[in-house]
């Protein structure tokens, strides 16, 4: 037992116990309460005392060299080495199960009833969340939020706050974020299936770690509010030091324009200035890099000259600074973004560029079935959201890479579709978006629904294929989504 005793001794000699008085003092200091603050470390005096104690017993070698995973100083920093994923293993961390298909009477239903769509996977201070929709009996979609438990189970949250089980063809969930103990999910609610195609941008907030939820309809601008056909689509939500920001589009029945909303607390929301009344911007997503909110999207409605763009805000969405990712606007070609993720060293945006007047977007059926179209898959990297550089182009068959997630080993690029042999195309890039290598897909193949980060490691939600779950039952495949985590061996 010498080795076990020494392991315990090393740990306890390294860090002194934390007393209740120290905890109280830390909690009562400005900005404390720690887990949900993004600013500099608090209580510098206390930190200095701790450092002095640690130094006095000579254990600085336990300081991690600074990446997401702990690496002892002096050892190779394997976390940014692409080879660190060479032997990586996918570990299943549970499955998300639909409920409508298993409800009473479900056996009488047909088609895709209960089919799950997972739009976002997010690791937040209060847990690991997924947001998406479930298909209802009338063919519409019902908003859903799930949270992972500690025994690989996923619990559906929210109850009636997300509406009843009557679906709408325009209901969708965009994302989820947390700040100061409040979790906020964002999406749009559509009217009943068959009703006029209007949508309400909506935020759902919970201040008890997802136990109870409250819905808030986000306000529309005065122009849009005056239109009987006004509606909005939500593209993403992020939480930063200056509150929550939601981005998307607003339609007044004639024009579709970019939109943003902001909130200090997730409960009270206001329209944030974003774009102009004449802009046509397809907003893709929003991320937070350090203390800066970064929105990415495509200008120009995919017409010649459409271009990938980014907008940054350092004041919680009150003002925005645009940045070009591409000079395509000066040509007759088009470029755009399909996904973005924030890693430890910067942001990586994934997109495409087309020469000439072709306007199909990679991932669409038209592009996939017309290999003659000249589509380049493009990566842009930015350390701050303001300046962007293009990384080495991707040479990929078919519709290509459409999702990016950031994890401990760098970025993971994932195709939404699988190859003929059932393998998903997954590439790993270093944290600065340079070197890349192919990563084996999770067991079973099938398609990937979304990717995210779990405990610092990249995770993926996967549709359950025949070889993944051993089932050929179409309904089970539609109503179950497996969640996997890629962990270096």
């Amino acid at each position: 037992m010498t080795l076990e005793r020494d392991i315990a001794g090393v740990i306890d000699e390294t860090a002194d116990p934390i007393g209740v008085d120290e905890i109280r003092g830390r909690a009562q200091s400005p900005g404390a309460g720690g887990g949900d603050r993004r600013g500099p470390a608090p209580l510098l005096v206390a930190a200095a005392v701790v450092a002095a104690v640690v130094a006095a017993i000579g254990v600085f070698a336990w300081w991690p060299s600074g990446n997401d995973t702990s690496v002892v100083a002096g050892l190779p920093d394997t976390t940014t080495d692409p080879a660190s994923f060479a032997g990586a293993e996918w570990e299943q961390i549970g499955s998300i199960e639909g409920e409508l298909a298993s409800a009473p009477g479900a056996e009488e239903r047909t088609g895709g009833i209960g089919a799950l769509t997972i739009n976002r996977l997010r690791e937040l201070p209060s847990g690991l969340y997924a947001v998406g929709t479930e298909q209802a009996r009338d063919g519409g979609f019902v908003a859903r939020v799930w949270r992972a438990g500690n025994d690989e189970t996923w619990d559906r949250l929210g109850g009636e706050a997300f509406g009843d089980d009557r679906g709408s063809s325009r209901t969708a969930m965009a994302g989820i974020a947390e700040r100061d103990g409040t979790v906020v999910a964002a999406g749009q609610l559509g009217g009943p299936t068959g009703a006029p195609q209007q949508t309400e941008p909506t935020a759902w907030w919970s201040d008890d770690a997802g136990a109870t939820w409250h819905a808030v309809t986000l306000p529309l601008s005065a122009d849009a509010e005056s239109s009987a056909e006004a509606g909005a689509n939500v593209a993403g939500i992020a939480a930063g030091p200056d509150g929550f920001v939601v981005v998307g589009f607003v339609s007044d029945g004639r024009f579709v324009r970019p939109a943003a909303w902001r909130s200090d607390n997730g409960v009270e929301w206001e329209v944030a200035p974003f774009g102009t009344s004449t802009d046509r911007v397809d907003v893709i997503d929003i991320e937070v890099m350090d203390d800066r909110y970064v929105v990415v999207g495509t200008t120009g409605a995919y017409q010649p000259g459409s271009a990938a763009m980014a907008w940054t805000s350092t004041d919680g969405g009150h003002s925005w600074t645009p940045s070009d990712l591409d000079d395509i606007a000066s040509t007759s070609g088009t470029s755009g973004i399909t996904s973005v993720a924030a890693g430890p060293d910067g942001l990586l945006a994934v997109g495409y560029r087309q020469a000439g007047d072709a306007t199909s977007v990679p991932g669409s059926e038209a592009t996939a079935s017309e290999p003659g179209l000249d589509v380049d898959h493009v990566l842009w990297f930015s350390p701050d959201g303001l300046t962007w550089v293009e990384r080495a182009p991707l040479d990929l068959p078919g519709p290509g890479i459409t999702m990016v997630a950031a994890g401990a080993g760098g970025f993971l690029l994932t195709s939404l579709t699988s190859t003929d042999d059932g393998q998903v195309v997954i590439d790993q890039l270093t944290t600065d978006g340079t070197d890349r290598q192919v990563v084996e897909s999770p067991p079973g193949g099938a398609s990937m629904a979304t990717t995210g980060t779990v405990d610092g490691f990249v995770a993926a939600v996967q549709e359950m294929g025949p070889s993944a779950g051993g089932t050929t039952d179409v309904r089970e495949r539609l109503t179950t989504r497996q969640v996997w985590r890629l962990e270096p061996s």
């Binding site: 860090a15 990446n67 008890d208």
Partner: protein, 161 residues
């Protein structure tokens, strides 16, 4: 009822919780993120628990929740530290351990999950179930991490047990 009021009336409850949870959180986070960030992360997480005790106390697994809070804090600090190290000099202080020679390097060679599982289960005798609840893992994952981690430690250190 405000969190502040609850802190006053349930201080004893928090102290009881802290007596049980503090060693687990500190050891898990120090094992995962090192001495500096790990202890600070545990203190930050517990301060978060104190500040929001009414909400945290009602959770099914408050220690597991606070572990997640602490781990997230530690990762943010690690990112900042990495930027500092890239910009300047890195401290080169040697280990002054009186324990098994090479143990610190061998522990550093494990994955973070392996190191945490080894520390909590092998080092401090926590059960697989307790460790799984704290770290948000399945019991089988904890068992795998302990077995692989201990095997690698013994191999690296050249010890039989």
């Amino acid at each position: 009822m405000s969190d502040q009021h609850v802190q006053t009336t349930t201080a004893g409850t928090f102290e009881a919780f802290c007596a049980d949870a503090e060693p687990k959180l500190r050891r898990a986070l120090v094992g995962g993120f090192g001495a500096e960030h790990g202890r600070e992360a545990a203190a930050e997480a517990l301060a978060h628990g104190w500040k929001h005790w009414a909400r945290v106390a009602a959770m099914d697994n408050p220690a597991g929740y606070l572990y997640t809070v602490g781990a997230r804090w530690a990762r943010r600090q690690a990112r900042r530290r990495r930027r500092r190290l890239l910009a300047g000099a890195e401290p080169t202080v040697t280990w002054g351990s009186r324990f098994e020679p090479g143990l610190e390097a061998a522990l550093g060679g494990l994955s973070r999950r392996q190191r945490q599982a080894v520390v909590l289960v092998a080092g401090f005798g926590m059960t697989h179930a307790e460790t799984a609840d704290l770290l948000g893992l399945s019991r089988s994952s904890v068992q795998n991490h302990v077995e692989r981690g201990m095997a690698r430690l013994r191999d690296d250190l050249g010890v039989d047990q």
